[in-house]
């Protein structure tokens, strides 16, 4: 029991040390713009454009459900135009970033862990090194930069989609006029709502891609190891995302 606890503590300390070393190596790769510059655009397309359908799909239905649930909750007690307030605030501050983030953790994080894990176990990462490339600048930095910059873009479009579908549902199903919906939407709006959601999304994007890369590059074994890494990347990303969500609420919304 004590031995197992000791071993786990040592493993945890090693993991933290390993992550610190990983981040240090990543920072060291920053001047190598000639390598990561071109590759970042490729990753931006993969993280951003290719993730849009799933993020927008989730946001569209979330907007509808938010409008209907708000109307159900407010019936008789709160003016109906508050539906616009609730849809807007919820999408911008919480549901847009978190739901899109979780969807991207499954799509982007898993795919990066699987891709880099396969490259690791088939010696492609070693081959890169022997060809005088730093895997941090060739593989990691483009992905992390793409995640950090493109996830906010995906979230912004998801938020917009959620608000539009919320408005359409209010208009078609709740008999709420467009003017009333917009009135509610603007009622408690603050510019901070926008930048908070986007800033939080950027940290989500950075976390998802960083976890995908760290887990992928630490893959050992064959296909089974790649499978384990893929699952681990999704679980770690999702957990960290929710912890970060609470952290930013605590730090920035009080």
């Amino acid at each position: 029991m004590i031995e197992r606890l000791g071993r786990r503590t040592v493993d945890a300390i090693k993991a933290v040390g390993g992550f610190g070393q990983f981040v240090q190596d990543l920072v060291r790769a920053v001047p190598d713009v000639a390598v990561w510059g071109r590759l970042t655009f490729v990753q931006m397309r993969r993280v951003g454009v290719d993730s849009l359908p799933v993020a927008l799909f989730i946001a569209a239905f979330t907007g509808v459900v938010l409008a209907l649930q708000a109307s159900y909750t407010f019936t008789g007690a709160v003016p109906l135009y508050f539906v616009g307030t609730l849809v807007g605030k919820s999408m911008m501050l919480e549901l847009g970033p978190v739901l899109a983030g979780l969807a991207l953790a499954g799509r982007v994080g898993a795919s990066m862990a699987a891709e880099l894990g396969t490259m690791k176990v088939t010696e492609q990462v070693d081959a890169l090194e022997t060809l005088a490339y730093d895997p941090q600048s060739f593989l990691v930095l483009p992905r992390v930069l793409a995640g950090t910059t493109m996830v906010p873009v995906v979230v912004a479009l998801a938020v917009l989609t959620g608000i539009v579908t919320g408005w359409l549902a209010s208009f078609a199903l709740l008999d709420l006029s467009t003017q009333e919906f917009v009135k509610g939407l603007r009622l408690f709006y603050r510019v901070k709502d926008t930048w908070f959601g986007l800033f939080k999304s950027a940290t989500f994007g950075c976390t998802i891609t960083l976890v995908g890369c760290v887990v992928g590059l630490s893959t050992r074994g064959g296909a089974e190891g790649v499978g384990r890494s893929t699952t681990r990347a999704v679980v770690y990303s999702a957990v960290l995302l929710l912890v970060l969500d609470a952290f930013w609420a605590l730090v920035l919304l009080r």
Partner: protein
Amino acid sequence: MIEFRDLHKAFDGRPVLAGFTLHVKDGETIVIIGYSGTGKSVALKHVVGLLQPDAGDVIVDGQAVSLLDRAALTALRREIGFVFQFAALFDSMSVFENVALGLRRRDLGEDAIAARVREALALVDLTGAEDRYPAELSGGMRKRVGIARAIALRPRYILYDEPTTGLDPVTSAVIDELLVRTRKHLGVTGVVVTHDMRSAYTVGDRIAMLYDGKIRQVGTVAQIRETEDPVVRQFIEGRPA
């Protein structure tokens, strides 16, 4: 010159290399033979700094590899071509891009890179395969692309990790012939890791047997063929214990 100097390496407490010492002379091709899992590839990976030794070191051109900083290690790697056991080609890149990748780290224009890629592919008899992807190639062709990727860099040293493993006898002979041709054409120093004795006899100037983490015997092909060491004899004759 490459010198393995009293190299020690263990994984999870299990020693793999335990005092591995070997000198590779300039211009020669030395073949390291040994049973599977005895650390032949591990030794090779120390030469390019992919692994750090627990003790001892590999000395390349007078430099201790484990003591080099990042920039010096990168410079050293430019002098060394590495052919991986399963070729380690990048799946998402065409044959051309795979071979050109290392050249893009050098101050070469696109025309010069294209010329070097064509030259390297011609040397491995793969002219016309530039636009194909690794998934479309046979095992032997993948190995040849791996060799082309290494020789396109015009390195001073080439390290081959099990170049004929998993190939049929005819394709293995083609790869052996290619290794000999590459050496004649480029005059490089080579280290080949294999347990394929036919290949070892064909491509090697000298053969060294790795056993129990260290060199059991090293000698010319003729000396190894005539050896009276029972361990080496058993291995080269392929006799069960």
